[in-house]
């Protein structure tokens, strides 16, 4: 297990502040944050490439570490084979062993045909595979990945996700992957940490963080579709005079509430269900997405909800049409702003 305690690092005007993380052995841990939030610095500190100002990092075997930078940094003066074998040559393995290991990894990553090619002649996806092979061939216990797919096309990204998943399942290595891409975290992570401005804001499984953001930043960053600000008075979270949500929480002022668009049910007639929150509203916008349709409904506040294309056709919904929306009180997550 990697235990990071009270880690601090100042570089110029930027500071990584009091980082505390426990990353389980074999876990796929994603550190999610916007550009400039300190993700790469944190990764370099874990890799021992940067000297920490204070704090501790335990459980890292620096000799069994694989690091893939966003820009890959394949050695341009070496060909593919020489790049992959670099770490093995440094370890002074004999040529036969090196050859076997390089060929095996190249076979697994489907780059055997590229082994004697110049790095400069490879496509983005090929370079990515070579970088993974170079890091993987030294059989690392910990894989550190710094936005490894950020410069790739979407279809190639998916390939790389598959490869990373496969490697993770096969090697049982601990993966620490930093990214700003929520979808990447969604696809790969066992747990995530949200980082912003040099501080870890929240950790947990993706579902936990997505469903229960602990701050306005996290709610915004993970893309909570419905975020409201108000006060809880006598079992109602009051956003404005026209919109209030039933809750069993005690009275509280200046609090945020999030509701996932997926948790909102729409119907033409009022539902006779256990859901305590039912609203009658008007459709004010319809946005088509790849897998679903997003409706924006004015029910005193604008509420976003998702329905399938099939349901959309069935209901024959149109702008300005009035419909019912409902959700359970348990679907609402409250948090006090930082």
């Amino acid at each position: 297990m990697i235990i990071i305690k009270n880690l601090n690092k100042k570089i110029g005007s930027f500071s990584l502040k009091n980082i505390n993380l426990n990353i389980q052995k074999g876990e796929y841990f994603v550190i999610l944050g916007p550009t400039g939030s300190g993700k790469t610095i944190l990764l370099e500190l874990i890799a021992g490439l940067l000297k920490k100002d204070s704090g501790s990092i335990e459980g890292v075997n620096y000799k069994k570490l694989g690091f893939i930078y966003q820009d890959l940094f394949l050695f341009p003066h070496l060909n593919v084979y020489e790049n992959i074998s670099y770490g093995l040559k440094i370890r002074k393995l004999d040529n036969k062993t090196i050859d076997e290991k390089v060929n095996k990894i190249a076979e697994e990553l489907k780059i055997k045909n590229l082994l004697y090619r110049d790095i400069t002649n490879l496509s983005g996806g090929e370079k990515q595979r070579v970088a993974i092979a170079r890091a993987l061939v030294i059989e690392p216990e910990i894989f550190l990945l710094d936005e490894p797919t950020s410069s790739l096309d979407n279809n190639i990204k998916k390939d790389i996700y598959e490869i990373l998943k496969k490697i993770h399942n096969k090697t049982k290595a601990t993966f620490i992957h930093v990214t700003h891409d929520f979808e990447e975290a969604l696809y790969l992570s066992d747990r995530i940490a949200i980082i912003n401005n040099g501080e870890i804001i929240q950790t947990g499984t993706l579902q936990e963080v997505f469903n229960k953001p602990n701050s306005l930043f996290v709610a915004d960053f993970v893309g909570c579709e419905n975020l409201f600000f108000g006060n809880i008075i006598d079992n109602y979270f009051i956003v404005n005079d026209n919109f209030k949500i039933y809750t069993e929480l005690e009275n509280c002022s200046n609090i945020y509430a999030t509701i996932k668009a997926n948790d909102i049910i729409i119907s033409k007639e009022r539902l006779n269900s256990s859901a305590r929150n039912n609203y009658y509203g008007e459709i004010i916008d319809i946005n088509e997405r790849i897998n679903f349709i997003e409706l924006v409904i004015d029910a005193g506040v604008n509420i976003k909800c998702f329905i399938t294309h099939q349901a959309f056709s069935l209901f024959d919904l149109k702008i300005n049409e009035k419909i019912w929306i409902s959700f359970k009180s348990s679907s609402v997550h409250f948090f006090i702003p930082e």
Binding site: A47, L49, F67, D71, P76, Y86, G87, R91
Partner: protein, 264 residues
């Protein structure tokens, strides 16, 4: 009618050609106004051959010292920030701005018989090959360091970090990644350093008249025998240097160049 971009190109080509001709014409004129017989006689003149070999040898030794001591300093300048860095960089650039005769006198005051070194050891470098190497090193080291420093600056430091994550020590990363990536800058620095050493006159004449390096031999023959006898030596030196530098430039161009990209 010429379009604007063609006019632009022609003006620049003309102005550029003036510089090239200004350099080339005296050299070509000198080469073609030297009789082949005189050139042949110079080629078998033992004093000339000795002087050319001495010049090439001393400038090569100065360049080797530059490679050994200059590369680490260039790396420090390129990769580290520290208090007083700008001042130290300026110190390294001093030989570029001071007259070379002044450089020779400065070296003489440190290494001559009347210097502290001379008085303590009873030794003097005056008149020795060591002095030639020192003078050549002093006046040309800045060119080498600046060339190599720029090479290191253009190569992303994270290449060596990646090497370190793959198990390399910082020194191994330097040898196997940083140095090969700036090969072109090193060769450029070597060419500039060596060339500058071969052509040095001002600092050497203060320290060493004998044994004569070629630049001093040319001056000596001009003073003693006139232009006719100085010219073939100069032509010979120019031709030898041209051949050497053309070969080195070819090696520089044929090898993989510097990888001065911040990305993959």
């Amino acid at each position: 009618m010429l379009d604007k971009s063609n006019k632009f190109k022609i003006i620049f080509i003309i102005s550029g050609s003036i510089i090239v001709l200004f350099i080339l014409y005296p050299i070509i004129n000198m080469i073609f106004s030297t009789s082949p017989l005189l050139l042949f006689n110079t080629l078998v003149d033992k004093e000339v051959i000795f002087s050319i070999l001495l010049t090439l040898k001393c400038s090569l030794i100065a360049t080797l010292f530059a490679i050994i001591f200059g590369i680490p300093l260039s790396y420090i300048f390129a990769r580290y920030n520290f208090y007083g860095k700008k001042i130290i960089e300026a110190i390294v650039d001093i030989p570029v701005i001071i007259p070379h005769s002044a450089a020779g006198i400065a070296l003489l005051t440190v290494w001559g018989r009347d210097s502290i070194f001379g008085r303590i050891t009873g030794l003097s470098i005056v008149g020795s090959e060591v002095a030639i190497v020192m003078a050549m090193f002093f006046v040309s080291i800045s060119f080498f360091i600046n060339s190599v420093k720029n090479g290191f600056k253009l190569v992303d430091y994270r290449y060596s970090k990646v090497a370190m994550t793959l198990g390399a020590t910082q020194f191994q990363a330097f040898l196997t990644v940083d140095l090969p990536l700036i090969k072109k800058s090193i060769i450029s620095g070597v060419i500039m350093m060596w060339a500058r050493g071969i052509s040095e006159f001002g600092a050497i004449i203060i320290l060493v008249y004998h044994p004569m390096v070629t630049s001093i031999l040319i001056y000596d023959r001009y003073e003693c025998y006139g232009l006719k006898y100085a010219k073939p030596v100069a032509v010979l030196l120019i031709l030898i240097c041209l051949v050497i530098f053309i070969i080195m430039r070819i090696i520089e161009e044929r090898g993989k160049g510097d990888y001065n990209k911040k990305s993959k």
